[in-house]
Amino acid sequence: MGSNQLKTQLATMRDALFKQGYLDEQFIQLEELQDDANPNFVEEVVTLFFRDSVRLINSVEQALEKTPPEFDKLDKYMHQFKGSSSSIGAAKVKSETSLFREYCKQGNAEGCVRTFQQVKKEYTTLRKKLETYFQMARQAGPGESASRPKLRFQVYPVVGVLASVFLTSFKLYKSTLSEQNNASSYVLFLLMSVSIMCEV
């Protein structure tokens, strides 16, 4: 099934993000916070992060352009940025900001500039990846990545309904058999089975 494929793809991508160190434990925490009432919580938070951090990045860039750079301000901005990135579990971005802060403390303007480029790079990479990820997730279906059990829950009642329909149809079939109404009952029966298969 398409959705299945998508789901598998999604899972793979997610694993890759973790393995490659783009995301850390905090992301899982966010996923755990997601539920039926807040099905898109993670995406919302990530979107918010990327929106907010744009402002911060601009401020840092402006501060870096000044000569000599205002290290106190830079440190403050990066501290904020570090906190933000930790909120979604952006591991690589976070480590780069720490490095930046080190250079700030040393007063190393060049190091700051260099590191900031790295920060930006990691930031944009992560952004792209997550955007893709969430797109896929939306396509794959609601609550797929973190809530498989829920899917099953939903399925069970459907299956139950189908089963009951099937049984009634079978009974009808039986009755129709007696009435020589084979075709209709048979068709009914077929319909039931097909629907069941589709659901699954």
Binding site: V45, L48, G83, S84, G89
Partner: protein
Amino acid sequence: MESNISSRNNGFPAGLRVLVVDDDQVWLKVLERMLIKCSYEVTTCCLAREALEVLRKKKDGFDIVISDVNMPDMDGFKLLELVGLEMNLPVIMMSVDGETSRVMKGVQHGACDYLLKPVRMKELQNIWQHVFRKKINKPKNGDGHESNDDMEKARNGLDDLEDWYLINGGDLNPSKKRKDNENHEYDNQDNSDPSVAKKARVVWSVELHKKFLDALNQIGFDSKVGPKKILDLMNVPWLTRENVASHLQKYRLYLSRLQKQNEPKTSFCSTRQSEITSKDSPKSFDLHDSMMKQQNQTASCSFRYSSKEVLIQDMAPEILEDNSMFSFSPSTKCTKVLNSDISYPLKSTCGSRSGITNSFISPAIDGNFTPFQSQKQSRGEETSMLQFIRQPKEDQDMQRHGYLPLPSQQSHVQADSSLYASSDNHGIYIRESDKLHSSTIQSVCVEYKSSCVNNEHLTASHTDLFSIEASEDTSSPKDFVDQTTTNVSSNMEDFSLDEHLEVRQFHPIQDYTCTENFRLDDIEVFDFPGMDLVAELPSHSDYSYDLLDYPVKDQGLFIA
């Protein structure tokens, strides 16, 4: 969310009202979600000032505040302080920066906890413990006075306990010091934790205390003073009955302690107490006061030498009513006993400083202090007791003072004295005597509930008197004790109380409550309630030389 609803119905943690303050919108969203999942009630603010407004608007609207350290408009630590002071809420700090110095700063400013970002939900699930802890530690957040009193009472109780059962003299000092410190102000000990919000505590300033004492004086020590009466007389609108009650208790304890301290002194310094003699019972207060003043007001020998017979009895109330800060509560009870024949044997030989031992003896004797009925005797006993107490010191001319073991208790006393005498060091004596004293006192008290106290007081006062006499040389200016002892000394003179009992070394006969007094610290101040007794003694010229009867025997024991 079924889970949320069900957990809300559960118990305390659910429904906890949390205020989250963070300038980072992402974190606000995340924390809000997490806290909701913990089934708490969440309010978010991105500005510190906004948070303060919200808190102020809704007093008691929140149980706990979680705040970020770095915020643009206000420092997180400052917010933490303000919240703690104004609203007395537990505050949790958060930061992505987990440096030890920062964490320490947070704790110093009063943070209940310091979380590191990224914050896990598990950490948030436990924040209710801070709320609970605060609740149980400060039951009454709103009424500072009340809680103050509660704490004071607790402390008083603890002090009493220590006084009573403390056998190890070493432990006594700290409590004594603490008590002394607390005599003027209450909020010494409890506000050690800076993070705890400063609640409005009743600070017993000198003026307030003076009012208190005036009220006490007015009421008179005759009857048992009640805080309600005192409160009414003091006419301080914001003061509550509980404040007064706890202060009264402290006062009494202090007096008793002083009395014990001064007992040996008083006895010895009787010669110097000519002034005291002038003050007769009716002026016991004055005596006290003056003495008190002399002694830096430290001793609260508020023994009023009432003209009444019962010295001790009066003493007790006197003590209370005196301007001294300390109430000699035990003394109040034992007035009766003291009045009984105080056959304090005055032993000149027992000039040792261990007037304390004397004191001990006297307390010990207290049990058998039935003969203490006669004032005169009691007086004499007092002095003799004081002498007694002094005796332990080898050099003390305790002999003169004679120990004042009650006649009936002579043996008892002797036993005690021997104990005391065993150590040269006053301190040691004192301790031992303390032990005995306390034990005897306790036992005595069992027998004579009120009298026990009286005995103690009496002995204390006696010792004070004696000590005062003895310590003529020591001449502690503030020897209020001296004053009191002058009365005694006049009587004692017969006993040639010229020895220099190093008053200091006398540990006043402690009430059982002030075992610590027995330390061999420099007891310059023998603000013994007994002072009053001493003052009264002179009035009874018949100093019971009977007291001296005992001394002979006991002195030998006491003489180290």
